[in-house]
């Protein structure tokens, strides 16, 4: 063995492993830094939105005056509302694409929405379902309960919605959900379906295929079908958390937040004891978790309570930081 290699090896062995920051420090600093990041992003989008809206308003006014033109879509029923837009998200009526801001914007029949590279969007569909768009995705709203995915990846969470399932038309077939969470990707004539919860049906070329929770179906452009497994906690689902609709938790019991986080992260919920479960139902939260990803929201909110959580595989366990006094 040559001398220089000895030097490197012996120094590193003598010094030992570098100090690793404690996990709780990571989580605390991440939560604070992420909040600062989100707040800054929101302020920047607001500024851009005001700038764009002012410019657009002047243009629309000028055009309307010139042509006595009424805006298309005026008075039409709202089919969806943009709840979150991260990065460059654009909507169009016809072929004119315009950027959208952070504000909740309505979408009506015939409108298109697209995300550019690195952008994500979260929509609240009429009826209450959550639709989320990954980067480079384009959809068109057709009618209540039906939309067209021309390319890219969407995630639909039907929970909390009313009415029958949603239909997503794609160039590669039609997908119908049956009360579920699923992701659908369409590209170059191929289709990929990932079912997180519930079940989904695909109509394609006169054939109906069913996908169950934990299943991934890939249908290539020639009709070849491949089935595989995808757990509800797989990292592939994480992008959906970025644009998850954050519920208003101010004044609500901790148990509601905990249930929401468990569902958004695909985890089974377990309380360490009935007393802890009772405690979660009675602790009232105060504050705003707007735009925080689910686990960051849980970090921020539980930090002010005597509850904590631990992730164990596909399970999220809620524990007490210290012994909970018995109810009088």
């Amino acid at each position: 063995m040559d001398k220089p290699q000895d030097l490197v090896e012996s120094l590193i062995r003598t010094a030992g492993r570098r100090v690793e920051p404690p996990e709780d420090a990571y989580r605390q600093v991440f939560t604070a830094a992420h909040q600062a990041f989100r707040a800054r992003t929101a302020r920047r989008h607001e500024r851009l939105w005001v700038l764009w809206a002012g410019t657009a308003a002047v243009l629309v006014l000028a055009i309307a005056l010139m042509f006595q033109w009424a805006p298309p879509g005026a008075g039409r029923a709202e089919l969806a509302r943009i709840e979150r837009a991260i990065g460059v998200v654009e909507r169009a009526t016809g072929d004119v694409w315009q950027p959208v801001g952070e504000s909740a914007l309505p979408l009506t029949r015939g409108m298109k929405l697209r995300t550019l590279a690195s952008a994500h969007a979260g929509l609240l569909l009429a009826g209450g379902a959550s639709l989320r768009l990954a980067p480079t995705t384009e959809i068109m709203l057709d009618e209540p309960g039906r939309l067209y995915l021309s390319g890219g990846t969407v995630y639909l969470d039907h929970r909390g919605s009313v009415g029958t399932g949603y239909r997503i038309e794609t160039p590669a077939g039609t997908v119908r959900d049956v009360g579920t969470q699923f992701e659908l990707r369409v590209a170059l004539g191929a289709l990929r379906l990932r079912v997180r919860e519930g079940s989904v049906e695909i109509d394609r070329a006169g054939q109906t295929l069913a996908g169950a929770a934990g299943e991934q179906l890939e249908i290539d452009a020639l009709g070849g079908i491949t089935r595989s497994r995808i757990p509800a906690t797989d990292a592939a689902w994480q992008w959906t958390e970025m644009v998850a609709p954050t519920p208003d938790m101010d004044g609500r019991p901790a148990s509601e937040l905990i249930a929401w986080v468990a569902r958004e992260t695909g985890r089974r919920l377990r309380y360490a004891s009935p007393a802890v479960e009772q405690r979660a139902a009675t602790v009232i939260l105060h504050g705003n978790i707007r735009h925080l990803p689910p686990l960051s929201a849980l970090d921020a909110m539980l930090a002010t309570t005597d509850l904590e959580y631990a992730l164990d595989g596909d399970t999220m366990e809620i524990r007490a930081r210290s012994a909970i006094p018995a109810e009088p």
Binding site: V8, I12, A15, G16, R18, P21, A25, A33, A36, R40
Partner: protein, 209 residues
């Protein structure tokens, strides 16, 4: 180097544009190093290090649009961290014992900054004369890319080249080549830092602040 500066500016732009994935990636890469950086300058006070790093991230994000790419992004974060450490001592009063590190001396810092620039890492902490651990830690943290991890996998975890290749998802030849470059970079850094440390044996001019 211009291309790397461009990459750092691109990361900053993505974060300013609200790219959550870019933020998380940067946080995961910088947090452990900044934590060690602060910990060494705060005399091992873990709670203070956590608070200082938190302040560093919050300040850096607020000022990110002022980052112009003249230095590596991590070097820029380190400067903000130094300021946060100084603020910490100011808050605690003049009586607090301030930790002065070898790598905060200008000539040693210049070596570490030069190492940082090519690949986004930066200097860290260490006390050459008394603590081999801190010196090696600072050297490892100043190495570009994944050199430090590769060296630790090899010499501390005892992984074979094949196992390192699997972890990096590259071929064995590429892993062997990376390991060689990592060893060379570590050796060069040690030699340069040792030289800079020897220069410190001569009296330095008083440092501002």
């Amino acid at each position: 180097m211009a291309e790397l500066a461009h990459l750092d500016r691109a990361v900053a732009r993505r974060i300013l544009g609200g790219d959550d994935a870019a933020f998380r990636d940067l946080f995961d890469r910088f947090f452990p190093r900044l934590y060690r950086f602060a910990l060494a300058r705060l005399g091992g006070d873990a709670e203070a290090a956590r608070d200082v790093v938190q302040q560093t991230f919050c300040n850096a994000i607020e000022r990110l649009d002022s980052y112009r790419g003249e230095a590596a992004l991590y070097t820029w974060f380190c400067q903000i961290c130094r300021n946060a450490v100084a603020d910490h001592y100011r808050r605690r009063g003049a009586g607090a014992a301030r930790v002065v590190l070898l790598e905060d001396q200008p000539n040693v810092r210049a070596v570490l900054d030069a190492l940082t620039a090519p690949a986004e890492d930066e200097p860290e902490t260490g006390a050459w004369q008394s603590q081999v651990h801190r010196f090696v830690e600072a050297t490892l943290d100043s190495l570009p890319g994944r050199y430090a991890e590769v060296l630790e996998w090899k010499y501390l975890d005892g992984l074979s080249v094949r196992e390192i290749a699997v972890r990096l998802d590259v071929g064995e030849k590429a892993a062997e080549s990376l390991l060689t470059r990592a060893r060379d970079a570590f050796r060069a850094a040690i030699v340069e830092l040792a030289g800079a440390a020897e220069e410190l044996a001569t009296p330095l001019e008083p440092q501002p602040g």
